[in-house]
């Protein structure tokens, strides 16, 4: 099924296979037991989701092991619509009786919910947007080597070797290293007949060099700008990302940063590197175009959105150069899937076109509530113990097809700052007012880089910032950045998401001096 307004078909499944040990679990038997009990108890809709998620992390301080863990979450969840209300329950006992009991608990929770709704005099009923049934589908993400197939000694050895390179350089007092790896298996079945089995992996390596001036007590750090990726172990070893170059330049960059002058607060033209801009996109566009937020379903916690539903098609989000997509199909994206946690096939669609708000991120309930023909597949739960909520697709800014290089963007700036790497971020509960810092700030004078600056933060209102975008870099500047730790919902859930973007030029952005902000 295609939706001309906000969807196109998913990428085809990759030929890799799902881990046999996951397939050996009683997936279908438990699903059948749970869905049958839910049906028998009168559920209008029921879905069953069994997940096995393995997380492993390694941390090194000064090239020595400082901690590691290897955690596997395993369990299943039953969600029902019963009497027009949601009910949810989860369990860990892998027996059909237990699965049926969990289904009954979910129905009981829906009944409890209906009582409270009735007590309040509300007429609100849960309904879901239609989606075709996908019987017996399998999808596996695109990667070479499963990081869990790599011996732990090889992982910690590589981190230690990289840390050693940093520590050997002049001016580096400490080196921190970490690696997070995840393999996520999901089995989904619902009463409409969809059954999907999926597997994906992701990993995030990170190294930080720290310099401490014993005499003055001043210190600072420089972190790698390599993004997390929906790739396998090859991301660290096959040369597609130039780790050697990044590690080699970090000590000198750090030494220069320690010597750099403090920025003078004021308005500057900013050339923002993708290693920084991805996070600004995440906070000011990604979250702002979640329709559940815009409607108020996250109002008490994550917040709402200035991009309210009544402004769809009219809100001037930013410059006419601005074209932003929601995408659950991008290869190696952290939010890339075959089917979401409501059985909706992955899609790609426009959120902002020519600077105007034209789309939202949806799940099935929100789609139905707001008159969309179909969900665009943004339901996700981060564990078997959590209910699926509307979570972010890979939200990305398109490069200009024949756009400039980063050097060309810089060359057009008379007096500005080139911002590289993310660090601190914060945005208000309606996604208006934000403040970001970074890893590296280079002064631009007369179209050329003129050394680093310290103590820089940029602060803006979302529409002012995107309205000030004066040039968008070409495809040669495009990088798929992202994060493992996007938080939303209550109970709190964490999702991984990618954001692709080119370098871009923003004019007259308010830059703060963080030392002055601290009253020093």
């Amino acid at each position: 099924m295609r939706d001309a307004d906000h969807g196109r078909d998913a990428v085809p499944a990759t030929p890799r296979s799902v881990d046999e040990s996951f397939l050996a679990l009683p997936l279908r038997a438990l699903a059948d037991a749970a869905l049958a009990r839910a049906r028998a108890l009168g559920a209008d809709h029921a879905d069953f989701r069994m997940e096995r998620i393995r997380y492993a992390s390694w941390r090194l301080r000064d090239a020595k092991t400082a901690g590691s863990s290897d955690t596997t979450d395993l369990g299943y969840a039953v969600r029902v619509v019963h009497g027009g209300a949601w009910g949810f329950a989860s369990g860990v006992d892998l027996t059909m009786d237990a699965a049926a009991r969990v289904a009954a608990q979910a129905v009981a929770m829906a009944k409890l919910s209906a009582k409270v709704i009735d007590a309040a005099g509300s007429q609100e009923k849960v309904e879901l947007a239609d989606e075709p049934a996908y019987p017996d589908r399998t999808w596996v993400s695109s990667y070479g080597t499963d990081p869990f197939d790599v011996p732990d000694t090889e992982k910690s050895g590589l981190l230690a070797e990289w840390s050693g390179r940093l520590l050997a350089a002049p001016g580096v007092t400490h080196a921190d290293a970490s690696l997070l790896t995840v393999r996520e298996n999901k089995f989904y079945a619902d009463t409409a007949g969809t059954t999907t089995t999926q597997q994906r992996v992701r990993l995030h390596p990170e190294l930080t060099a720290v310099a401490v001036d014993d005499r003055t007590g001043e210190f600072d750090s420089m972190r790698t700008i390599a993004p997390p990726a929906g790739r396998g172990w090859e991301y660290l070893t096959d040369g597609r990302y130039d780790w050697d170059a990044e590690l080699a330049e970090m000590p000198e960059l750090l030494a220069e940063k320690m010597r750099a002058p403090s920025v003078r607060a004021g308005r500057y033209d900013l050339v923002v590197d993708p290693s920084n801009l991805w996070l600004t996109i995440h906070e000011s566009i990604g979250h702002a175009t979640e329709l559940d937020r815009a409607l108020g379903y996250e109002a008490a916690y994550a917040g709402t959105s200035f991009a309210t539903f009544d402004q769809l098609g009219t809100l001037k989000y930013g410059s006419e150069l601005m074209h932003v997509t929601g995408d659950r199909t991008a290869e190696h994206g952290l939010a890339t899937i075959g089917y979401d946690d409501e059985g909706v096939q992955a899609q790609s669609w426009d959120l902002v076109r020519d600077g105007v708000l034209v789309g939202y991120q949806l799940d099935r309930r929100i789609a139905k509530l707001t008159g969309f023909e179909r969900s665009n597949g943004c339901a996700y739960a981060d564990s078997p113990g959590h209910v699926p909520v509307q979570r972010m697709a890979n939200v990305s800014l398109r490069p200009a097809p024949d756009g400039p290089s980063t050097e060309e963007l810089i060359s057009g700036v008379e007096h500005g700052i080139y911002v590289v790497g993310d660090r601190s971020w914060s945005i208000d509960q309606q996604r208006y007012n934000f403040q970001f810092t970074g890893q590296r700030f280079f002064r631009i004078e007369h179209g050329r880089l003129a050394g680093q600056l310290r103590d820089v933060a940029y602060q803006a209102t979302t529409t002012d910032f995107w309205g000030s975008m004066a040039a968008v870099g070409g495809p040669q500047t495009y990088v798929l950045g992202g994060a493992f730790n996007c938080g939303k919902a209550q109970p709190g859930q964490v999702a991984s998401v990618s954001h692709g973007c080119p370098a871009a030029l923003f004019t007259a952005v308010n830059v703060l001096n963080t030392t002055q902000e601290a009253g020093r």
Partner: protein
């Protein structure tokens, strides 16, 4: 939370079997049994709710070698007796693959077994909301009749942790954690107010009373004044103080400080312990036995990190004064980082209390304010600069203008840039300490008691148009 269910895989038996299977030089096993129940609502209607049951077993194997002792940590959910051997072997393999652990220490010994070690885990269920849910429904009805929309979340979790070790420890702790957050908005969503509570069992929370307080605050907001960015005398309520000091506590690791990379580093080396941080007689402390804020009285570490060590598992936690009478008294240490820094052993504790001898309520502090701002809470707090512990974030759900000792209306929200360490130095008055819910960090930290603080010159860095 008191119902109990017979189990075929009793946690204490799982712990004993795992220890018996161990071939490592040392072994620590932690079994966590978790049940939760929650309700969530928006626009005066329940949206989602749920109950969950989880089981996690963590095996920490230690292996002695020529160059030191290594540790391997492997956790698995839903472990049954049949899964145990593979899990124990995986932990041992991880230990052998790891290099010597920097934080290696002898496993903790001594102490009597916890009395309930062989008893079934404590549980929660939807029954915890038996009185609360109808009251919540009634508060929805009243809100609708009163022209308010209610949003929020009620959550209750009980975690029973069983810790056993090859060194003889047999410890158990039951941790109930409940939170209630209630947010009221005007139907046009131009006014918003928030209240939160931490609770152990939902017997001490009253959504109707909270809604009534929020109705008062929404009424305050009917008169609105726009103020520019700047430094304002500001009353920080206990929840805001908690959010700032929780972050400060998370940033008070002794090792990082001694290495020169935190706000608590002393120029030229060492830490700032012993330095006066505040002119007020503030004491910031943790105490696992604090009434109403009880938390685990021994270390439960599922992995090693900067401020935690798996080798410290089972170590008794003592009442600890982090700041005493305004002087920095202690930074967070493991046994390893205590050796490195020369500071006493003081692991992190899961509660935090600030006491300053004040007796005034927030309303009384308002009455003593000639002109200033009264915050409701802070939001999206992130670290800008570790050297000063400069944090940024926003006000949310109501900033009120106080004139002549009374709230005279609402002002716009702001982004702030402030350091909690500096705020303690500049605070001119503290109210009485009361239990509070840190709003920003309530996913991670709920057991706090704080006073309100008066800050003469709080840095409102810019205006936030968000409501």
């Amino acid at each position: 939370m008191s119902t109990r269910t017979p189990r075929t895989n009793a946690p204490h038996e799982i712990v004993e079997r795992a220890l018996a299977l161990s071939r490592a030089d040392g072994c620590v096993v932690i079994a966590d049994e978790t049940t939760t129940a929650n309700l969530r609502w928006a626009g005066n209607a329940l949206t989602t709710n749920g109950v969950t049951r989880g089981r996690r077993l963590t095996v920490i194997a230690t292996v002695n070698g020529k160059e030191g002792t290594a540790s391997g940590v492997v956790s698995r959910a839903a472990v049954t007796a049949e899964d145990l051997e593979a899990l124990v072997r995986a932990a041992e393999a991880a230990a052998r693959a790891a290099g010597p652990a920097e934080d290696a220490q002898p496993l903790v010994t001594g102490g009597a077994p916890s009395p309930g070690f062989t008893e079934p885990p404590a549980e929660t269920s939807p029954d915890v909301f038996a009185d609360f849910a109808p009251a919540l429904g009634e508060s929805f009805r009243r809100a609708r009749d009163g022209g308010r929309e209610l949003y929020g979340f009620a959550s209750h979790a009980v975690v029973s942790s069983y810790l056993g070790s090859s060194a003889g420890l047999r410890l158990r702790h039951d941790q109930p954690t409940g939170t209630l957050e209630l947010n009221a908005k005007s139907p046009d969503r131009t006014r918003s107010a928030w209240a939160g509570r931490a609770t152990r069992d939902f017997r001490d929370v009253d959504p109707l009373a909270m809604d009534a307080d929020l109705a008062r605050r929404l009424a305050w907001a009917e008169r609105r004044t726009e103020l520019p960015a700047g430094r304002y005398e500001t009353l920080l309520p206990p929840t805001a103080v908690a959010d700032l000091l929780v972050y400060q506590t998370w940033s008070s690791g002794a090792r990082d400080a001694a290495e020169g990379r935190t706000v608590f580093s002393a120029p030229g080396g060492g830490t700032r312990t012993g330095e006066k941080l505040s002119g007020l007689p503030l004491t910031l402390r943790s105490d696992p036995g604090a009434a109403g804020l009880e938390c685990a009285p021994f270390v439960l570490a599922h992995s090693s990190g900067d401020d935690a060590s798996v080798f410290d598992n089972g170590l008794p936690l003592e009442p600890t004064d982090w700041i005493r009478d305004g002087v920095l008294n202690q930074l967070v240490t493991t046994r390893h980082s205590a050796e490195l820094t020369g500071l006493p052993v003081a692991p992190a504790v899961d509660n935090l209390l600030l006491e300053a001898g004040g007796s005034k309520s927030l309303d009384e502090l308002v009455a003593g304010t000639e002109r200033g701002l009264l915050l409701t809470c802070l939001w999206y707090i992130r670290e800008v600069d570790p050297a000063t512990l400069l944090l940024t974030g926003l006000t949310r759900d109501g900033v009120y203008l106080v004139e002549g000792g009374e709230v005279v209306g609402e002002v716009n929200n702001f982004r702030f840039n402030e350091s909690p360490v500096d705020l303690l130095a500049r605070a001119s008055e503290a109210g009485r300490t009361e239990r509070t819910l840190p709003r920003e960090w309530s996913d991670y930290f709920t057991r706090a008691a704080m006073p309100a603080l008066r800050i003469p010159d709080f840095n409102m860095s810019s205006v936030s148009p968000g409501v």
